[in-house]
Amino acid sequence: MAAKSILPDFRITPTIDQVGIEERVARFTTRSIKKESKMQGLKMILNMIDLTTLEGKDTEGKVKQMCYKAVHMHDVIPDLPTVAAVCVYPSMVKTAKESLIGSGVKVASVSTAFPSGQSTHEIKILDTKFALENGADEIDMVISRGEFLKGNYNFVFDEIAAIKDVCGKARLKVIFETGELSTLDNVRKASDIAMYAGADFIKTSTGKISPAATMPVTLVMLEAIRDYYYATNRMVGMKPAGGISTSKLAMQYLVMLRETLGGAWLSNEWFRFGASSLANDVLMQIAKQTTGVYQSSDYFSKD
């Protein structure tokens, strides 16, 4: 890849003006989006969701049920899009793949000893291969935060590059777990490292640690994607995950995406929401728009 031959010096990635980021983010929350554009936005959000279940108590039954929901979001309302993908543990990839045959919904698998990433290089490679052999279309890997915070950036870079090699055609999402990176400067640095190492998507969080995705962190990552695009002409996707549970908030993320990266990123090829409860809130909002009546979660399937 041409990009790798012109690696920047990661010690001098731009520092982030936290106050500036927060003020910029505050602006995104003031946009008024109503009626048809709201409806279009809601459907777009739905279509960008990676419907996720990543729990120790996951079973094949639970995964099958979620996959059914991924395709039949709320059959009472016609012409709803499906979600973009389902996101599961490697052991559940096979079940998910079988349940989603012919639906167009992709299967994403977490890997590299998710969520902590505390394992050996060999195991992380095997973990990824196992998911791919079972049919995963996308791999969500975690970076080694410990090594990153130690300043061992080469280790982090090489690990991402190695997983990318294993992935082949499958798209690679790189999770930073921004809640553990402490500063926005670190988030920016991790973004640069991941993109130059070959990430197709950069992703905020595992959803296991609070704070998960926040708007300031996402904005820093979007700006990193923009700068990377200017430098290399390669588009990289963005996936905020965890903590986005209302349509209103999701809509503000779309505004931020549109005003930072432009219209080209406004599809599920380049932007995803990692969420489980967001889908129902979006459905309730769509139902509110079509019926004119505020909805209750009693009438929407739990996934």
Partner: protein, 294 residues
């Protein structure tokens, strides 16, 4: 030097906080001399929606509290109200009520809270039953709270109407969203401060000020509201409420004939109005002296 008096800003009460209405609309409240005494929030349907979300998320915790603990909290509300009696009397006077009537209204409100505090752990025994059945089952029915209750409280009364409508609802383990009197709203917001310092979890009671003509259709159509109580007399509103309530078969109770300061305005049956009966069939080997059936 003369001192400028610090005027109180009357806001609304949602999820244990005192936000202004999201709509940014206000209406002036005037006294008999036509002087403005306060600007009240003219709540919108979105304020109502936010309040229902708060009430729904508070429902689990409140309904699972032990009945005795709910009783303690209701009693605590009465204690807090007693301590601030003078403030409420002053507000009632400001809203054009005579001194004697104001005093009566406040003391009755306190007593009514104590009355329902007492009922918190007793109505279950009154409304439960063990049912005779013909199979080998121990069959019993118990009341459980309905859920989120929307209340359009009395227009004529500032405090007593509010207490009369809220107390039986929360005594029964429900959470609620209340529209206060439009013409006498002051006590409702001050009462929110009392609620907020009485160990009542955030969101159990949410109080809005505003216009019933504008809000009653939203109160009655919201799918996440399980029951609606209406304490006013407007025939058209009653009709719309009944029609809209059919959407999710809400319970509707119209208390248009209630006389607030009478004994009849308080009764365990007002608690029962917002209870659902759950019947359980528990298999047993023997019923009375008969042999086991399975």
């Amino acid at each position: 030097m003369s001192r400028l008096e610090i005027q109180k800003t009357y806001k609304i009460f949602i999820g244990g906080q005192f936000p202004r209405t999201e709509s940014g609309r206000y209406y002036p409240l005037k006294n008999k001399k036509n002087e403005v005494i306060a600007n009240m929030c003219l709540s919108s349907r979105k304020d109502f929606r936010n309040a229902v979300v708060a009430a729904r998320s508070a429902f689990g915790g409140w309904s699972e509290k032990s009945a005795f603990n709910r009783s303690q909290i209701l009693y605590r509300i009465a204690e807090m109200l007693e301590g601030r009696k003078e403030q409420f009397i002053a507000e009632l006077l400001l809203q054009g009520i005579s001194a004697a009537a104001a005093k009566e209204e406040v003391t009755l409100s306190i007593d009514r809270l104590v009355y329902y505090a007492g009922w918190c752990d007793k109505y279950q025994a009154l409304f439960s039953s063990v049912n005779p059945v013909a199979s080998s089952h121990f069959n019993f029915s118990v009341p459980e709270p309905t859920g989120v209750v929307a209340i359009i409280s009395s227009e004529e009364s500032s405090l007593l109407g509010l207490v009369t409508s809220i107390a039986p609802v929360i005594a029964g383990g429900n959470t609620c969203v209340v529209l206060a009197s439009e013409s006498k709203p002051l006590c409702a917001i001050t009462f929110s401060e009392v609620l907020n310092t009485s160990d009542l979890s955030a969101g159990v009671v949410n109080i809005l000020t505003g216009n019933s003509a504008e809000l009653h259709s939203h109160f009655s159509s919201h799918m996440d509201v399980n029951s609606l109580l209406y304490y006013r007399k407007n025939k058209n509103e009653i009709k719309t409420i009944k029609e809209n309530a059919a959407l999710n078969v809400k319970r509707v109770h119209i208390y248009d004939k209630i006389i607030l300061n009478s004994e009849k305005a308080q009764s365990p049956y007002f608690i029962f109005d917002n209870q659902e009966i759950k019947t359980t069939w528990h298999p047993v080997e023997n019923i009375g002296s008969s042999k086991g059936g399975y």
